[in-house]
């Protein structure tokens, strides 16, 4: 399988080189493209110096728009599979095989590397917990499938699916909305357990205020996806 690793990066200059070299060492057989989402620092130059192919967005599109750029690239360059990996070193490239395996066996169209599949000690504040429970319940009902980690940025997709998302990607609220859309279009999602390391740099894009408001935003976007007829698939 001709595989492409997509690393969306925004302001990861201090660590991006290390992340790229680690991935290339772990998987010399796969290609790698960094999507530099118009970083204010020299993330793009650092990535290029580390030996990656770099697509530089002239305008900041946010994580959704950056990832979709990677999908479009993979469509044009004729890849069979893509893996999305965070640019902050959270994901261990030695676990790439775990998320690619079910794809190669044809067991799924998307494999999510999940943090929560096995019990962890993670305890969230009350307000956030309520939001998460409410949200995951709705997401489960909408997807008719349980996905433990809906916000994981570590996932693999096969060609039919990333071609589909290259055309129809909910770039504004990419997380759960994408999963619901993917399920509605009858693609198969599988979740595998992976270890996450503490990020090497940067902050989570989630703040306290956001973490309260986020589930409701997600609920709305899921509702909207449910009300829409999903765009038709071209591969069936």
């Amino acid at each position: 399988m001709k595989t492409l690793i997509i690393i969306p990066a925004y302001g990861e200059a201090p660590v991006i080189g290390e992340v790229i070299q680690e991935v290339m060492k772990a998987r010399p057989d796969v290609d790698l493209v960094v999507i530099d989402d118009c970083s204010p620092d020299d993330t793009g130059a650092k990535a290029l110096a580390a030996g990656a192919r770099v697509i530089r967005l002239p305008v900041n599109l946010g994580i959704g728009g950056a990832v979709q750029t990677g999908f479009k690239y993979a469509v044009r360059e004729g890849y069979d599979a893509v893996v999305q990996v965070d640019g902050d070193g959270q994901h261990d490239p030695h676990e790439l095989a775990k998320v690619l395996d079910p794809l190669e066996k044809g067991e799924a169209d998307m494999v999510i590397g999940s943090r929560f599949l096995e019990k962890t000690d993670y305890k969230a504040p009350f307000a956030r917990r309520v939001g998460m429970i409410l949200f995951s319940t709705v997401a489960r009902l909408a997807m008719k499938q349980t996905v433990a980690d809906t916000t994981s940025g570590f996932r693999s997709l096969n060609r039919p699916l990333f071609s589909y998302l290259a055309e129809h990607y909910p770039v504004d609220f990419p997380d759960a909305e994408t999963l619901v859309l993917v399920r509605r279009a009858k693609f198969r999602i599988k979740e595998v357990s992976v270890d996450m390391r503490p990020r090497k740099s940067g902050k989570s894009s989630t703040t306290t205020l956001k973490s309260i408001y986020y589930p409701f935003k997600q609920l709305l976007s899921i509702l909207v996806v449910m009300l829409r007829t999903p765009p038709p698939r071209m591969d069936t």
Binding site: R53, R56, T69, V171
Partner: protein, 121 residues
């Protein structure tokens, strides 16, 4: 109930409408405003002028709607119109944002292709 509009108020209203009309026309002439949108604003200024000239019309509408005063009828329709205009604009902006995103992605991909052939120095 309401009296007829005083003559002076009528004149002020008509002048206001004429100024709006001319201003919109000037914007179109200087290509600051697309013809597509100018039609709407010209229609609004003409509509208001008609109401100002034939003020009986407004009183008639007020009566027909069962509204207490002509003022509230004006404000009601004014507000309704502005709401529709803003909604229309947000729809337009959403479309533009989508187009803009696609263009940015296309540009980045093409630039990537170009740099593959001749790396940036």
């Amino acid at each position: 109930m309401e009296q007829e509009l005083p003559f002076r108020a009528q004149v002020v209203a008509i002048i206001g409408c004429a100024l709006l009309f001319l201003f919109v026309l000037e914007l179109v002439r200087r290509r600051k405003l697309k013809e597509e949108y100018s039609m709407l604003w010209m229609a609004v200024s003409l509509g208001m002028a008609v109401l100002a000239i034939f003020s009986d019309l407004l009183l008639g509408i007020t009566k027909a709607m069962g509204a207490y005063s002509a003022n509230s009828v004006i404000f009601f329709f004014g507000l309704l119109f502005l709401l529709a205009a803003v909604l229309h604009l947000t729809v337009k902006v959403s479309g533009l944002a989508e187009e803009n995103k696609n263009l940015v992605q296309e540009l980045a991909l093409l630039r990537g292709k170009l740099e593959e052939k001749s790396p940036p120095s």
